[in-house]
């Protein structure tokens, strides 16, 4: 099957802003599905709420768009109900790590066989750009107008705290690496979590002085380096795939 066959074109255009990272990531997922030649009937996609959470509706498969933060428990129920399905969770950092944080800890601990793509744009894009648990220290947002007083959450630490894990950090810029991470995550027989470094231009980047999405994309290129054979955990500026 071609990548196009995994896309629900009847829903085009998407709600995403021009220049948003979510579209790039969505496309890498469909490319990966083509490369893996995953039959459509073996796939279902679950999303929570947010701009990233709209993704489920754009896949040409049976898909579910649930309440804010609950993509993981719904996905777990689906996987337990029909284990032969590949269950892909595609959602935002606010959804999966913020409001859904408790579910994240426990779904990872139970090692439920899901593939999770977490679009980490470091903000709540859909609601106007408030501070997320992933927002960097000092950054000004609608709910941190004087600068964020808190350090961002350590997602890598959360996932790798488990006995067995798959944690990848990739980015919307490093698309080959992202595709590789997606393929490996689908092949992993357990909970596989991919944190995709992304950005939100309209409700986050502009406030920081970026004019276009691609400027934020180039910033990711500048900051992040791929570590192809990481020993131990990834450094803050590293992308890589960790499995145990």
């Amino acid at each position: 099957m071609l990548y196009k066959d995994y896309v629900k074109w009847s829903r085009w255009p998407t709600t995403w802003c021009g220049g948003c990272a979510i579209g790039i990531i969505f496309k890498q997922v469909t490319f990966s599905l083509e490369r893996m030649n995953l039959p459509r009937e073996k796939l279902t996609v679950v999303s929570g709420i947010g701009c990233s959470g709209r993704a489920a509706g754009y896949f040409n498969v049976d898909s579910v768009h649930v309440t804010h933060g609950r993509a993981l428990p719904v996905a777990e129920g689906i996987k337990r109900g029909k284990p032969q399905l590949n269950v892909l969770v595609f959602s935002g950092d606010g959804d999966l790590v913020g409001i859904g944080g408790n579910h994240l800890i426990h779904t990872a601990r139970r090692n439920v066989d899901l593939t999770v793509i977490c679009v980490n744009n470091q903000t709540y894009g859909m609601t106007g750009g408030q501070m997320a648990p992933t927002t960097g220290k000092g950054i000004k947002t609608l709910t941190s107008p004087h600068g964020n007083r808190y350090s961002p959450i350590n997602i890598q630490g959360l996932i790798t705290a488990n006995e067995s894990y798959f944690y990848a950090r990739s980015s919307a810029y490093h698309i080959n690496h992202l595709q590789k991470a997606i393929r490996e995550a689908f092949a992993w027989p357990g909970f596989a979590f991919i944190e995709v470094v992304a950005y939100c231009i309209e409700n986050f980047g502009r406030r920081m002085g970026y004019r276009y999405g691609y400027e934020m994309l180039l910033k990711i290129k500048e900051i992040y380096k791929i570590n192809h054979s990481p020993q131990g955990l990834l450094k803050d500026n590293e992308l890589g795939i960790l499995k145990k």
């Binding site: 898909s63 129920g77 029909k82």
Partner: protein, 338 residues
């Protein structure tokens, strides 16, 4: 074969009889025994001791989408948490059974004492307008039977159906012959996930396409879903009416309260709704027609009395029994003082 079993166990067995495939919950008094019993069946069914009640109901929604009959159980504090999932299941039209074994609230309240305080929560607890089916058994055998009927009604209405009971009944053991109960089982109509390109969403949608600013469509959608549930409800008009032509007062009560006042049947008419919601409007009106006085006795401060008053459009006396303690003598005195 007669066996001595507890209300909570009868619920678990009823669920298995109905074809339960998935159960998730979080421990809470006085509902935990449902979980304990079903944990033993792990392997035959999918069982999850979830991280919280929100997870439990959302897992049940997922499992139902995947084709399994699913249930979750809790008590008041967990019921408050489940409201989000109940709304989602209504919006996505997912069959599901939610059991709420009530204890005294609000909040952590009186965990070991029974109550009937979650009626309005069961009816209106999630935001927005919706019309849930709610059943309320009064015996251990009924716990079994109405759990099965809750599954049937959920399948037929494609909605989350609520089974309410009080901590008394949940922990009451009675001798019953469950094999003598011969329920009809409704099959799954909803096609399991996989193979299509359907989109289930909590947003207002038509054929899976969100239509979030079309008020006319909302009205059409709401009418369709309400009519669907009302039509199914008509096949589950469960109640018990002990008419008493000598009496001038009709007592309305359900669950444990109905059991406690049963000895009053010589002096009063007794009406026991089993399908609490949608309210049995016709049946209630007919039963009430020949009585001068209507008294609703319940272990809360008049939650169902308000519903009855709304339906009958006449004065309804509320006799609240608060704080988890119920005695026939107290009720008798209160009735005498009316």
């Amino acid at each position: 074969m007669k066996q001595l079993i507890m209300g909570n166990e009868a619920i678990a067995r009823g669920a298995l009889r109905a074809g339960l495939g998935f159960f998730a919950a979080y421990p809470i008094t006085p509902a935990s025994e449902i979980m304990h019993f079903l944990a033993e069946k792990e392997g035959e069914i999918e069982f999850v001791h979830a991280e919280d009640e929100i997870a439990a109901i959302h897992m049940a929604i997922g499992a139902s989408l995947a084709g399994l009959k699913a249930m979750t159980s809790t008590s008041g504090p967990g019921m408050s948490l489940k409201q989000e999932g109940i709304g989602l299941a209504h919006m996505m039209e997912i069959p599901l059974v939610v059991v709420d074994v009530q204890r005294v609230g609000p909040s952590t309240g009186m965990p070991t004492l029974p109550s009937q305080g979650d009626l309005i929560q069961a009816r209106h607890g999630s935001h927005g307008d919706y019309n849930p089916l709610v059943f309320y058994p009064a015996t251990v055998e009924e716990c079994y039977f109405y759990t099965i009927e809750a599954f049937n009604a959920a399948e037929e209405s494609r909605s989350p159906v609520i089974l309410l009971l009080d901590g008394f009944l949940a922990h009451l053991s009675e001798t019953v012959d469950l094999r003598a109960v011969k329920p009809h089982l409704k099959r799954r109509k909803l096609k399991p996930l996989g193979g299509g390109n359907r989109h289930f969403t909590g947003l207002l949608a038509r054929e899976g396409v969100p239509l979030t600013d079309d008020s006319d469509y909302y009205r059409q959608w709401y009418t369709r879903v309400k009519n669907k549930i009302m039509t199914v409800a008509c096949q589950y008009n469960y109640f018990e009416f002990l008419d008493n032509p000598q009496a001038d007062t009709l007592l309305i009560a359900f669950g444990i309260t109905a059991r406690v006042i049963r000895p009053l049947k010589k002096a009063y008419g007794l009406f026991r709704p089993i399908r609490l919601f949608p309210v049995l409007e016709k049946e209630l009106s007919q039963a009430a027609a020949n009585y001068d006085r209507i008294v609703v006795i319940e272990m809360n401060d008049g939650q169902y009395a308000g519903e009855v008053q709304r339906v009958l459009r006449r004065e309804v006396i509320s006799l609240p029994i608060l704080g988890g303690k119920i005695h026939l003598r107290e009720i008798q005195e209160a009735l005498n003082a009316l």
